[in-house]
Subunit: 294 residues, 2 copies
């Protein structure tokens, strides 16, 4: 009997959690550094990106063991970006997902170094994976460094920072999110499909899918900042408005933002069908991300 989506997510979440722990546990490093890395990696992340990576792999030639190292690396890079993003010099957040941020529990210096360590270690995790061929390692490291580096996620963070307290067009806003949130989501989808031997044609449509998915993710984030339940979202509601951030609801109104999201969902699913993944878990996961409440 086919598992329902909740069971599917729970199963892979615990599998990914185990893999992450395995890689962190084997580090023989200063205790404070290890605790700080563990703290943020285990601070209640939903493992959406690794789950998307595995689901994308399953839409093609499924080989679970090959996906683990990129799934772990991806989550470590996501976590490092959150640790650095929360720093006083950046977003200055005391809480994330309802828990104190890394620098509040440890120190700013430790938080900076834990982020650096997670980023660097993610490349080691992939390059040391005995289940991957040399060419797979190279392709994955190429994708991961490009999508998380100065042309990808880091560029998005810089543009996001620059956009604060000034008016932004919808186009500029989408460019920021395509980089800041979209690039790592794109890695999830593309890395999984690459390891599943998806064709060039399929990868082109998956890339489109991942771009829409990133935008859906962001619109929903913005909507939750207005109508969300603070205890679920894990951060104060209305903080975007306080910071005068450009958001979809601000630019389009709440109904306009919802319409926009539905338009993206439609396009995302069209792209999935063209990528021959129209029957995969990626369809359900898209709906799940569309209606998530935290």
């Amino acid at each position: 009997m086919k598992r329902n989506l909740t069971e599917y997510i729970d199963d892979y979440k615990s599998m990914i959690d185990q893999q992450i722990e395995k890689h962190l546990n084997k580090l023989q490093i200063p205790e404070q550094l290890k605790e700080s890395m563990f703290y943020s990696v285990q601070a209640g992340g939903k493992r959406i990106r690794p789950i998307l990576l595995i689901a994308s792999n399953q839409a093609y030639d499924h080989y679970l063991e090959k996906t683990f190292s990129s799934a772990v690396a991806l989550e470590m890079i996501h976590t490092y970006s959150l640790i650095h993003d929360d720093l006083p010099a950046m977003d200055n957040d005391d809480y994330r997902r309802g828990k104190l941020t890394n620098h509040k529990v440890f120190s700013e210096a430790t938080a900076i170094l834990a982020g650096d360590a997670l980023l660097t270690y993610s490349f080691e995790v992939i390059v040391d994976d005995p289940n991957l061929s040399s060419n797979e390692k190279i392709k994955l490291i190429k994708m991961l460094s490009k999508k998380s580096g100065p042309k990808g996620m880091v560029a998005g963070q810089v543009l996001d920072m620059e956009a604060e307290n000034k008016s932004t067009t919808l186009e500029e806003l989408e460019n920021i999110h395509k980089l800041k949130t979209g690039q790592l989501l794109q890695f999830s989808i593309m890395a999984g499909a690459f390891l599943g031997n998806a064709s060039k044609h399929e990868l082109i449509h998956l890339k489109q899918f991942s771009e829409y998915l990133g935008l859906i993710f962001q619109v929903q984030d913005d909507i939750l900042d207005i109508i969300g339940d603070e205890s679920k979202v894990g951060k104060p509601i209305g903080s975007d408005a306080d910071q005068q951030k450009s958001t979809y609801p601000k630019l389009l109104g709440l109904d306009g933002a919802r319409e926009k999201k539905n338009e993206y969902v439609k396009k995302a699913k069209e792209a999935l069908f063209k990528a021959n993944a129209g029957e995969s878990r990626l369809v359900e996961l898209t709906d799940y991300l569309t209606r998530r409440d935290h």
Copy 2:
């Protein structure tokens, strides 16, 4: 006619500078991020690590084009570590090599992100190098991630931070420096020799050499903090003593520190001979690092 060491260093320094510029120039990224990355990479670094990498390569099968990407990656990682190290939450330095530190010129947020970008980009530079075979790329990324990550340089930074304002034994001090300074120096030597097809036997002795070299480097740094010329060193003299840092002169006295340095130089050169590199530029570079005044 053989170039003297100064000409040798100058020639390779400008070659490395060009390679670094080439890689940074081709980045199409937000202007502020690019400027910030450029600023620190060009802030007067002596390119000691890349030059050691090339010299180590030349001690074996010389293939200059193969060394460039690791030389550039190494210098970018070294630079990122300095940017993050200088941050207010870490060493809180306003000047480095006589120039304002990155966060003083740009902002703390930009400095954090420029460091993240340089670290991530360094892996991309290696993985995209058309002069390297797949196995060379994998080996280099493996070495670089291990030596700069949580088991290597980052561990050293954490231990260094923890050692501040408390008494440290010589053994603890050496462990800190082996990680914080030594691991990247080790990458210089090992990566260069690996690309030169050094034998396993040679690599074992080179590893020893690089460990002594790291210690020489540190003893000299500590000595310069006492007797150095402020205009050459580029930072205030006596800052270690002000911070109550454990240093070689503090633990052994100034003469004791010099003796220790000479002992390391002797051992370093012995290791070089055993590695069949006793006639290479590495010997002269060891002397150069021993007597450097900045």
